[in-house]
């Protein structure tokens, strides 16, 4: 296998696998997410245009989940066209309004899409200017943009609305290809002001907010165990509830539709579905499945199937450190539960679905396949997401809404998942276990490094593919999501980095940063243990191994300086470090101050994070992402853990799965945004600081107690 896997190469592998089965298309077959190139001119041409009334319309190639990308996209177009940002009609992706775009994942919105969007806007600007010059009988070069059109130096003007002619102004690929955007201007202060104002004032924005009057309410019957099969809906009792509308049934599923949410809940409570078989897994089975030591032992202690580094290692010499680290499954736990509303045409040939999704075009493809419709007869309209974190990258509720609405066509049906559905029906961060052994050389530097890990799937998620395809994909290529962040930035000497992926009855999939968080926790624990073994300070030890990584080293120095690294603290309280690159496009380091409360519960007293996100448009929004990642790290370090019991996820509510609250967040939380080297392009921001911050908290807790944290959450 190649020394480095990427999601793209993994997807190529999947595309090959999918060729043969597609020849015998049936609704059970998997659908692969479309991955059009972000810079394809024929795509970008569909993003920008002008209505006959002179309104600039932007079909955003990215989804909004709180990262603030809409503000950035609006700014890019406004700056290029010299128009006021608030005058732009910016729309989230709708599958009938624009060419397919790829999923909003991986913190790559600006790095991949800023330039193509600027180019498309430049092409529109050139076209409008050409038309204006024609109208004013002058050269395009002498025109200056005004708020609503163009003007000549002698004061003659034309409005944009008068440039449209008979229809909307659209672009073609050739114009986009020829366009030259101007240098993007420096950041104005509040790029998200328009969207934020709407949200704060209660303007409908999320999927369930936008359901039209007359919408019915639907929900699926849920199995008591993962993988259980529905034998009988037992819905006779539901039909007696006032407000009951319909029971819908299909192969292996059934759902109820009612006039009002309360009536729906009452009808569901009266249903007595009969389920067969399903998982009987508990926590012990889950732990055994991802036990890396058992995997290694089963293969003679020699190797795991997927290798990122494969140097020869002398396994017979003693190791200086030998750590086993365990990371539990975790939920996305977005505060907005998944929601979608669907409405069919009266002839049931066409369905429209509105939802918050990270991938409208993947959702469309999945629905078309499952419903047996042509793609043009499925319309996906995106809504703002109330948090996503990877959880909306695979459609789930969308199909449920379409199925239930089919039964009552043409009335729209809203399916809004319950909190229990979110925990028990969704996919999650997979549990993983890590074995890291390492050896120091005579110079006190790392001479040998062996990181073996075992995890449930991430990219090859069971939420998107059946078990046979998971197995086939896994045989062809490693699941790059599991591997993310496992290649440390440090000089390691001889290194072996390898992993195994295991199918689990609990669906697992993309979760903020994919493998980067768990891998940073493991790698950084090992770095602290090695520093201790070498008798060196953890900061100095890391810096000594970062010769080729000036941007990460700079983050480390800055975070350490902000935190006052090395200062004296009372017994039971300590500072800890964590750092990591993210996708080779951003870098972060965090220092945590942790004290152990009576009872052994750690308390985070301070967090200091320095991040290099490359070029940024809105520094405050990057800082907001850093803060969010630090809070996520507190959750993963202190409380978050999903367990299995009797074949089902144990947690059903926020009492059983505790998210970090304001009381868990330290009053001292500082962020520094590093100046990137000159000429650097956009990096990423949304996931970078999570791993370093998680590692810093764990390392601080280890130092505070003089006992290494080897399991998350700490003290569990």
């Amino acid at each position: 296998m190649a020394p480095h896997t990427s999601r793209r190469s993994a997807m190529r592998g999947l595309a090959l696998l999918a060729v043969a089965p597609l020849a015998t298309a049936c609704s059970a077959l998997p659908v692969l997410p479309p991955r059009p190139a972000p810079d394809a001119p024929d795509s970008a041409a569909g993003w920008v245009g002008m209505t006959p009334q002179g309104v600039i319309v932007v079909h955003a190639p990215r989804q909004e989940m709180g990262q603030g990308v809409l503000g950035a996209l609006r700014h890019i177009v406004a700056a290029e066209l010299d128009v006021p940002p608030e005058g732009i009609d910016l729309r989230l992706p709708a599958s009938d309004a624009m060419p397919p775009v790829r999923a909003t994942v991986g913190s790559e919105s600006l790095s991949l899409f800023a330039d193509p969007l600027a180019k498309a806007a430049a092409a529109l600007g050139t076209e409008l200017r050409r038309r204006a010059a024609q109208r004013l009988r002058t050269s395009p070069d002498v025109l200056r943009a005004t708020a609503d059109g163009f003007a000549t130096p002698d004061g003659r003007a034309v409005r944009r609305a008068d440039l449209a002619g008979d229809g909307p102004v659209t672009l073609d690929a050739a114009r986009v290809r020829e366009a030259t955007p101007r240098p993007m201007p420096p950041s104005p202060h509040k790029l998200t002001a328009l969207e934020t104002r709407a949200v704060l004032h209660g303007t409908p924005a999320f999927a369930a907010d936008l359901a039209p009057a007359g919408t019915l309410f639907g929900a699926m019957l849920r199995p008591p165990r993962l993988g259980a099969r529905l034998i009988d809906a037992g819905a006779a009792g539901a039909a007696t509830v006032p407000g009951f509308v319909a029971v819908a049934r299909g192969d292996g599923w059934a759902g109820v539709v009612a006039e009002r949410p309360g009536a729906l809940a009452a009808a569901l409570a009266r249903a007595e579905p009969v389920w067969q078989s399903g998982s009987d897994w508990g926590d012990a089975a889950l732990a055994a499945a991802v036990d890396v030591d058992a995997r290694l032992a089963a293969r003679g202690g020699a190797s795991l199937p997927h290798r990122l580094r494969d140097d020869a290692l002398d396994r017979d010499q003693p190791w200086d450190i030998d750590l086993r680290l365990d990371v539990p499954a975790a939920a996305h736990a977005a505060i907005e539960p998944r929601a979608a509303w669907a409405s069919w045409s009266a002839d049931r040939r066409r369905v429209e679905v509105s939802t918050g999704t990270q991938d409208a075009f993947f959702a469309r493809a999945v629905l078309a396949r499952r419903l047996g419709l042509a793609q043009e007869n499925v319309v996906l309209r995106s809504c703002r997401m109330g948090g996503a974190f990877g959880g909306r990258s695979i459609p789930l509720v969308e199909l449920e809404a379409a199925r239930l609405a089919h039964a009552v066509a043409p009335r729209p049906v809203l399916v809004q998942w319950s909190r229990a559905d979110e925990f028990r029906e969704a996919f999650h961060r997979p549990p993983s276990t890590h074995r890291i052994r390492a050896r120091l050389g005579p110079d006190g530097r790392i001479a040998a490094w062996w990181h073996a890990f075992c995890s449930g799937h991430v990219i090859f998620s069971a939420a998107a593919m059946p078990p046979w395809l998971q197995r086939s994909a896994n045989a062809v290529s490693g699941d790059s999501g599991i591997a993310r962040g496992a290649m440390p930035a440090y000089a390691l000497g001889q290194a072996r980095i390898e992993f195994a992926a295991v199918p689990l009855p609990m669906p697992t999939g993309p979760w903020r940063g994919l493998g980067a968080g768990p891998n940073a926790f493991a790698v950084e624990a090992a770095m602290d243990a090695l520093a201790a073994r070498a008798g060196q300070d953890p900061l100095a030890f890391r810096l000594a191994h970062l010769d080729g990584q000036p941007r990460l080293a700079a983050c480390l120095r800055r975070a350490a300086a902000m935190a006052g690294w090395g200062r004296t603290l009372p017994p039971g309280r300590a500072l800890g470090l964590g750092c990591a690159p993210y996708k080779e496009a951003s870098w972060a380091a965090t220092v945590a101050e942790v004290a152990m409360a009576p009872g052994g519960r750690p308390l985070v007293h301070g967090l200091w994070c320095a991040q290099d996100s490359g070029r940024v448009l809105d520094a405050d929004r990057v800082r907001a992402q850093m803060e969010g990642n630090m809070v996520w790290a507190i959750g993963s370090a202190l409380t978050e853990r999903l367990t299995l019991q009797d074949g089902a996820v144990s947690a059903a509510d926020f009492a059983e799965y505790r998210l970090p609250t304001l009381g868990d967040v330290p009053p001292v939380m500082e962020t520094a945004l590093m100046d990137p080297p000159a000429g650097m392009s956009f990096g990423n921001a949304g996931e970078t600081a999570f791993g370093p911050s998680l590692a810093a908290i764990a390392n601080a807790a280890s130092r505070a107690t003089a006992q290494r944290v080897t399991r998350l959450p700490i003290g569990a």
């Binding site: 704060l200 109330g386 319950s418 909190r419 009381g663």
Partner: protein, 154 residues
């Protein structure tokens, strides 16, 4: 006959909606989408509104429980002035919102707490969850709103 008021609007609970929650009545019948469903169990706070000045969880409260009362939602914060308006200003200035889904609940809790018990307002904010991790900005905005109100009072 009016059952209660929402912001400045007199409301009669429509026939058939007597058994629904206040949250669903507000969202799906009265068109006030700013109050949100997060868990349906009163545990996340996304559905928090003010009922006679007190923060209540609209997802577990029957609509009939609001009879005779005054409900204030985020849509009415500007007109309400006082703590609700100060909270809205502070939230905007501190750029608290990321996805924004929970923020109407955060602001309703903040407004109620600042009116009721400013000294313990920060502790009360721990009862409203935010998954984006805006807690540091919530803390900052709450302090700003409190200072703003104190400044106006003096």
């Amino acid at each position: 006959m009016n059952d209660f008021t929402v912001n400045t609007r007199p409301i009669t609970i429509p026939t058939g909606w007597e058994a629904e929650t206040l949250l669903d009545l507000l969202r799906f019948r009265l068109g006030l989408a700013g109050v949100r469903f997060g868990c349906g169990q009163g545990l996340c706070g996304a559905c928090t509104v003010l009922l006679d000045g007190q923060a209540v969880r609209a997802c577990t409260l029957p609509a009939t429980a609001a009879r005779g009362g005054h409900v204030l939602t985020v849509e009415g914060f500007v007109a309400a002035g006082g703590a609700p308006a100060a909270v809205l200003r502070a939230w905007s200035e501190a750029r608290v919102a990321q996805c924004g889904f929970c923020q109407s609940g955060q602001m309703a809790q903040a407004a109620a707490s600042l009116n009721d018990a400013p000294a313990t307002a920060e502790a009360a904010m721990s009862t409203v969850l935010c998954r984006c991790g805006t807690a540091p900005r919530v803390r900052q905005a709450l302090a700003q709103a409190r200072a703003d109100l104190a400044g106006r009072a003096s």
